[in-house]
Symmetry: D2
Subunit: 312 residues, 4 copies
């Protein structure tokens, strides 16, 4: 878990090697979600054994982790409370609005979220992203997902800390060790991998949005190949960008985003809360489960707020 | 299915008879979702047999069914497209916002959505609903739901029409007949009942928001007892208010809302799209399935946008 | 006032002839507002004689003229009412939000509002308009305006109607006749010309947003030269686009916008209410007055909501 | 200018003594703006001598003084840039939205902004403020204002500092001394008084929203009587609450707001920028001028964004 600036490959080289463009046809806009075949979905359903349900979404409100410098927290406004209404029979209703950056709280990144060299996943042109949204690879293209087998790897527990510090690089070896330590749980084709860094716990302990956003522990660039080999369908984390920040190299900003989303076509789930789930997994020793986090079908959108459910 | 104004009971009388207040304790804010026990959730998981997945959410965009007279369609706005950005390595990202009435498209009603005589479900005071949202029975209280066994009843097909006309009352007998016609499928404790009226098909055919909102076919008041007896956990429909509009009596506005939500504590799922699912069910003759529609945890909110997934 | 499709010049030819690019230097982003010199501003102040004040803004609320097909009316939401607050001494406060298209009600068009052939007013590149707003010619560049001598020409009264019909072309001769009929009032350098078509009265009479937006009476293309010769600083109207709709030629959409804004550099004030002012002018025979309508300094914005004041 | 906690009168006593309720009739919702008679407006117009115009609004954008803890800065979003449009003749247009707390930048407080003991200005019931806005004393009731004679008093200059520190109380004696120092300028009936504390300069120097909002120098409670005696129509300042913060007594929050707005019926203009104007006034020795700041007519609203113009 030490920083290895000297050995870091150029992300473009890695991206080219791991690229899934054309793998599911030239028109594909779903990427690695395609790994979740009907068979795997059926198998995921079989993981519902105890009927215990967990929700991984954080509360959407002003107490969220955004400090306003980049994104703001959701703004919830009431348009009706029932006061002043005069309907037959005494009917009263309440109604409300929300305004939010689509990626301000628990959320999926659409495959249109990041790009480089003018191209999105599967070679779609980046200039299809305009004031009207994304012509290709928007989140509504994942409408039928994202459900399947989830696996939680608790890296903070592996390292024996409440949370990893910002800038801590999670290496493939860490993922392997966590699998081994967690009873030999395996991560395979079509799985949704959830990586616990403890960053949510830090926020819950400190309540400091600026500290939450200033950096984070997360996946290092080398993990991209690990995810590629195992044909993982999606990755989620309790931090806000999946990957380590500050990054491993000053020459690339968010290279894991670029490789996973743009080259591999992998949706990322961010700002999730694994606290209750992790506690349960430590207790019963079962680290895989049914997972479902359907995105809202916001047309042409770059992301979607979510509240993933896990059922064991 | 004829209108029976003369025989209609006062909704307060029905509400009092079917009231579930206190049934799950004096502090309960989840209502009939409590019918979904771990056992039933495990049984629901067993319905995932083919690995076929369906999404019941409608697209969230300007083409939605709101005509602006009451609620408006979602407003999606881009804050970043990648243009003008200068990050190390050529990283580019897109980002966006949404503003929407929480009940403008596919959505759950929170139990705080309607009230009468100053009280919400379980006797919570209605004046707890203020500019700050709902103190009790807000949608985030359903965070761990709403997942379980779903059953689709296709009433439009039962009646042999593309869609029922606005004002058409669905009676308990219609629900029974649909069960029988659909291979004897049963609706029982903890089920999420989905009622297809064809109203979504009408909107897709005509594209007329004003016509969609002007009225609708839907459940008549007598269905409340039917749902109560079967201990249904939640009801969803392809119309926008579950119940028939104009209503059965000029003396009560949305009485089914009042009885189901306020007295029985039942969450309603509205503006859903059953078209693809119904077609599949007609084909394979299987009308029950695993259903999951986790609400966003918008604190103190009156509803939540959703994209329910169904897996068979 | 008949339609003259056959004789209509190409708007590009007219635009080139009337173009003010470079007139106030290569960096100018204020256009014809530059006609309002200190001397003219002093003279405008001398028109304050009776101390009678008029407001030309329409109410900003849901009853506005937008039908939602293009723009929506302002959305006003309360965040605080005083309820539930606990400050020392019993202090209570209310607070609120507004969301609106900047051009949904009474408003100035920024010079960045329209363009053709890739260029804005004064030759600024149109691709400086991005998701971040307008790099050049945004409304905040008019921050010190727009105040000066206003002149109202009541064309509806000239024609003896409550309102002109949609599609009615106002010709230069109409403007001249109105001047003559209104006691020989003159329109000259640095004036803000207000053209009353009666379209606001129509909306107030009928309350029909769709009818208000479907078309309108307004300036024909020939008026551009008239305004250019007189060195008018800005034009306002009680319709929503200053110019006639449907337009005089099927080959050009909103050509008056293009010539006035993009070529001449003239700000347009739209959706104004002249009813009370016109009545007063008819009464006292004074058709010129002090006018002030400072735009909000919304950085990089394409327009600004306003409530112009007139003082006689 | 030292803190005088011991001598401070209860604000309710002061409020009762200075109360203007009924002064302009039982239905009045405009308060001290009524002091601006036609005669005074005509006199104000005579102050336009040089034709020099100043704008007192701050830029409305993300760089504003809100730190998000209470209010947020304006959010400006583009809906159209011209890209992808296909109109006859090559017409292209840009369009945009703004979302903002109405009091996040330069703004008028409506008389409905604050209240105590259940009553607003002129005795209107505070419970008329609901999710729908204010039934009485909303900002649109000031639609025909606020224009008249403005007077700037530069208290920071009086004290020989760039800005007064947070918590510095401005006393009536300071106002008198400033008048004397500024060539004997007088503040009288119907004037709009502008008080410069230097707080805007501090923000421009430091760029720190949290520091701007954490407290401020401003009017002490004793100034209310001074304003009352002189029959001032409105007060504006370059801070965000007119009055000193932390306040003079721990027993009352924003008592100057309560006395001025609720008892006297005075509109407050906040977060203004006097830097350019003050420099000019120091240069030419003229501290009074024509002032106009018409509020947007946002129906039932608690405030309005403004860009006041001053003309000398």
């Amino acid at each position: 878990m030490t920083r290895q600036h000297t050995r870091l490959e150029d992300f473009r080289v890695v991206g080219e090697r791991l690229r899934n463009w054309g793998r599911w046809g030239p028109e594909d806009e779903r990427g690695t979600i395609n790994f979740i075949t009907p068979e795997r979905l059926v198998a995921a359903g079989r993981l519902i054994c105890r009927g215990a349900i967990f929700d991984l979404g954080i509360p959407f409100d002003k107490s969220g982790p955004q400090d306003g410098a980049f994104r703001s927290n959701p703004l919830h406004m009431m348009s009706e409370t029932g006061a002043g209404q005069d309907f037959p029979g005494g009917f009263k209703f309440a109604d409300d609005y929300v305004l939010m950056p689509l990626q301000c709280a628990s959320q999926w990144d659409a495959l249109a979220h990041v790009h480089y060299d003018g191209l999105l996943y599967n070679g779609f042109p980046a200039d299809g992203i305009t004031t009207k949204g994304a012509e290709h690879c928007s989140i509504d293209k994942q409408a039928k997902g994202i459900a399947g087998r989830g696996v939680l790897l608790d890296i903070a527990a592996l390292k024996g800390v409440d949370w990893l510090e910002a800038g801590t690089v999670i290496e493939p070896e860490d993922l392997d060790e966590a699998c081994e330590r967690q009873g030999g749980v395996e991560v395979g084709t079509g799985d949704i991998l959830l990586v616990r860094t403890g960053w949510r716990r830090k926020f819950l302990s400190e309540g400091d949005p600026a500290a939450f956003m200033a950096g984070e522990p997360g996946l290092g660039q080398a993990c991209c190949a690990w995810l590629h080999e195992r044909e993982v369908a999606a990755v989620g984390s309790d931090n806000w960008a999946i990957e380590v920040l500050p990054g491993e190299s000053p020459d690339a900003f968010l290279p894991v985003h670029l490789i996973l989303i743009r080259d591999m076509g992998m949706s990322l789930g961010e700002i999730l809360d694994f606290e209750e789930l992790a506690e349960d997994c430590h207790r019963d020793g079962v680290w895989d489960f049914f997972f479902a986090a359907p995105p809202l079908k916001i047309t042409h959108a770059i992301g979607s707020p979510i509240n993933p459910v896990v059922i064991k």
